[in-house]
Symmetry: C2
Subunit: 179 residues, 2 copies
Amino acid sequence: MTATTRDAKRASTAQRILEAAREEFAARGFEGATIRRIASTAGVDPSLVMQHYGSKAALFNSAVQLPPQDNAVASEHLLEVLGMRLGELPPETRALVRSMLTVPEAEESMRVYLDERVENLTRSLSGEDARLRALVTVSGILGLTIAQHFLKLTAFEGASQESLLQAMRGWVASVSEVS
Amino acid sequence: MTATTRDAKRASTAQRILEAAREEFAARGFEGATIRRIASTAGVDPSLVMQHYGSKAALFNSAVQLPPQDNAVASEHLLEVLGMRLGELPPETRALVRSMLTVPEAEESMRVYLDERVENLTRSLSGEDARLRALVTVSGILGLTIAQHFLKLTAFEGASQESLLQAMRGWVASVSEVS
DNA sequence: ACTTTGACTCAACGCGCGTAGAGTTAAGCT
DNA sequence: AGCTTAACTCTACGCGCGTTGAGTCAAAGT
């Protein structure tokens, strides 16, 4: 037998740690999460987490890597692209957003990401103030995401997914009618 | 002489501590801020901070108390009311927003505050989906505030205050035309 | 002038954290 | 079967934190 079994076990352990880390970072943010707790959730010794990822910061970086985006789609799938799924957000997104106001690196990642969304959307718009309208749109979706998934404003409770999507569609259209 | 001098000194020290705390919480969030650093900024022993405010959490509560809002004004002064001043945010607002994703109490304060804004705005609107449109508006302004003052999206850099205000006015109007 | 008060400092405590290095043990190779 | 490797655990270190209680000393009261 090759070393496949050993490697596979190591890889799967690393994966378990990563998933535990994502949930922990998503729930408590970078500073609130602890290596010890992540290790415990993964059923593993804290030391092993270090051996796999080097440091808490490096683990965080691995944990918040977002899946690559399809930049081709712009305003038609805008809502989905920006993570406003009306359902649940994936843990890596929750982790990144949760820490973006307190961890400089997360803030930077988020800025780069949203800057990119703004540029993409700008290209799909026409008019003098295309970039400005794109900025307002992207920022607005960010706000809705936070208000719904993190702050859980009470007005979201009664709202059906459809009516919400309806209101948002009307708004997105009004701000950023595609050229 | 009465005890006025003593009391006045004590009060002014408390005030200095509170201001240092606001800036520290605004810049680093609840968890990132330290009593020791706040004390040092205020030119005081860490112990004294405890004697004045009891605990870090209590100090935070004192630091993020927002000045009372004028609930009468609604959509006309919506932008200002929601802290989207396009200039600088007051430190207590920055402190509260900075920690709202990582500190449950801050999250709760923010939800209560924004819920109130939504209700107020809803009352100024007409139509079946008034509450939904108010929700979208308030969330949008939250997003703009975060995008501008915390994430500092690059698209804000070139934008003049006027053009920004213009874009936002158009958007607010489109989403929430007053009845 | 003497005592009392209380604003403030000093020194230290215990805790949980990230992290490091040595030890263990089971799988892989020959 | 015996040696080697490496995935994993154990033990412990140092640090900075919030917090405490005793000490200091100048202002207030008498």
